[in-house]
Symmetry: C2
Subunit: 326 residues, 2 copies
């Protein structure tokens, strides 16, 4: 029993505290209590319901290991924000779980945090808490997003009715083509497609409540996500292939990419069921917020089937319906 | 352009939906909307603040790959519940992010979900939402827990004052010894130590608000976690080694394990700063709820140092202060 006093003082903190202090504490809002405590404490906005979702990104699965860390941070936040957008909710804050190999360079964390910081400012939310751990596997990032909505006003996936029209925001297929660009399968002189894949634009702030029957964000591919809406709503849908809006860059890629555009994922646009006759007014309201809205088809009676129609009104065969993460 | 109709019907869902339906949907509460939607919608308890934390467990880092999946599910939930307990908050629900290799057997998910189900029933909360993804790395589990507390009543880490006493719940060191058992370094005929390591007991429901100056849960080791309290409170602490409560199994292990007991992690007991003279009444209130409370030292003036005193009142040298996850 030696007489040497032991100390657990400020200078002796383990490395995880340095990482948190350098990169994540600057992201923390008031409710995070400076990330000092076991948990965050948040007074929910009075009279609102909370909307909560979690999405994970794994290096080599959901993004390429060489993708810039700043964009990885942005995409992680934005795919979660897109889930709030699909429910017509507003963002409040998020919790972040980061598992990374012990040799992950500090510059990676700095870039990742810079991407989060930029998007916190853009979308108006802050870090509430989280966890950092080491892993022998690839970088694994889980984000839990917290939003809010007026009571009873969250837009659901179930609710589409035969006769409703199918509308989408923005352009469809850029995400899948951007992935093809990343994999060297497609040219992208302007960088537009790759930008759409790496840093999607969550469609927050649209006046959907009370004006749409159902909504979903297009994360796994237009046809698959439309299939979810149909299955949960107990109806089918017909999509006019020629009506699906495409970007100029997708148009340049050519008609051979139709299956990827309709079946690939990562668009993070919103797919909406709009009662007949109400689309034009909604499109005008969205356009006023800078988001184009396009009618691409209609919901029909029947057991959950999605059909894609060619310009002659006949069904097309498309081989790939979407992307499964597991 | 063939005339074959394409369908994205119920039978054609990708495998992740089967996994969720089989194992995770039965865990979902009303706010989870049957896990059908992009996010959960939860009406927060009126007049309460929300308390939120996230903790990750990685196979091979935070548990052994051969550990029974049921216990992994229980530990994941319980380490998060322990964060709520440290803030004196009550559980409400949780979101779950699971990344697993594609060849993870379905029986692993079944066991994992069974562990979660058992503890949901025991602790009164339910699944709100989450994400499942594949990974080329080890199973990685992130859980975000949501709790609630009366406004202003969350107990913080900062707040201990010189003169306050250091108290702990339960017994200290079983977690570290249980890990030693798991690694084959210590015998454990009764299985008690391993049980404490694998399935900790979060100390929820204790009447701490207004009766303690500060609290933290012992996850990284008694001395390191006490060091956090001291650093944030701007004071130091002295711990009497002989006063630190140990289980009968730890006593049998012998005095050679002192450094592991005080420095090792995974106890998930609560470490409390209690104003002088108020410990006995608090201990009585906790005992009435089945949780023993023991005074182990006191907070002192000074810059965040933790000293361990032997039976002669002289400082002891202890080599290991805790466990860093990164």
């Amino acid at each position: 029993m030696a007489a040497v006093p032991i100390t657990a003082d400020v200078g002796g903190l383990p490395p995880e505290f340095g990482l948190i202090g350098r990169h994540f504490r600057p992201l923390a809002g008031p409710a995070a209590l400076d990330l000092e405590d076991d948990a965050a404490v948040l007074a929910p906005p009075p009279g609102r319901e909370l909307v909560m979702a979690a999405d994970t990104m794994v290096s080599g699965v959901h993004y390429l290991p060489d993708d810039p860390a700043e964009g990885v941070g942005q995409k992680l936040l934005r795919v979660n924000l897109s889930d709030l957008a699909a429910m017509a909710a507003e963002p409040l804050g998020y919790l972040l779980a980061v598992s990374a190999p012990a040799d992950t360079p500090d510059t990676w964390f700095a870039g990742f945090a810079a991407g989060l910081a930029a998007d916190q400012a853009e979308f108006g939310l802050s870090l509430l808490g989280g966890d950092t751990t080491s892993t022998p596997g690839p970088i694994t990032l889980s984000l839990t997003i917290i939003g809010h909505v007026a009571p009873g006003q969250a837009v659901r996936r179930r609710g589409a009715r035969p006769g409703d029209e199918v509308w989408v925001t923005g352009t469809i297929g850029d995400g899948a083509l951007g992935l093809a660009v990343s994999l060297g399968k497609l040219a992208d002189p302007s960088g537009f497609l790759r930008g759409r894949y790496c840093v999607p634009s969550p469609r927050l702030g649209l006046p959907l409540a009370g004006r749409v029957s159902a909504a979903i964000d297009v994360s796994d591919g237009l046809l698959q996500d439309l299939g979810h809406l149909c299955r949960l709503s107990g109806c089918g849908a017909e999509v006019e292939a020629a009506s699906v809006p495409m970007s100029e860059a997708a148009r340049v890629a050519g008609p051979g990419w139709l299956a990827q555009r309709l079946g690939g994922g990562d668009d993070y646009e919103l797919l909406l069921a709009v009662p007949e006759g109400r689309g034009a007014a909604l499109a005008e309201a969205c356009a006023a917020r800078g988001v184009p809205l396009t009618r691409i088809g209609r919901f029909v009676a029947g057991p959950g089937a999605v059909r894609v129609l060619g310009e002659d009104g006949q069904p097309l065969a498309i081989g790939r319906h979407g992307w499964s993460h597991f």
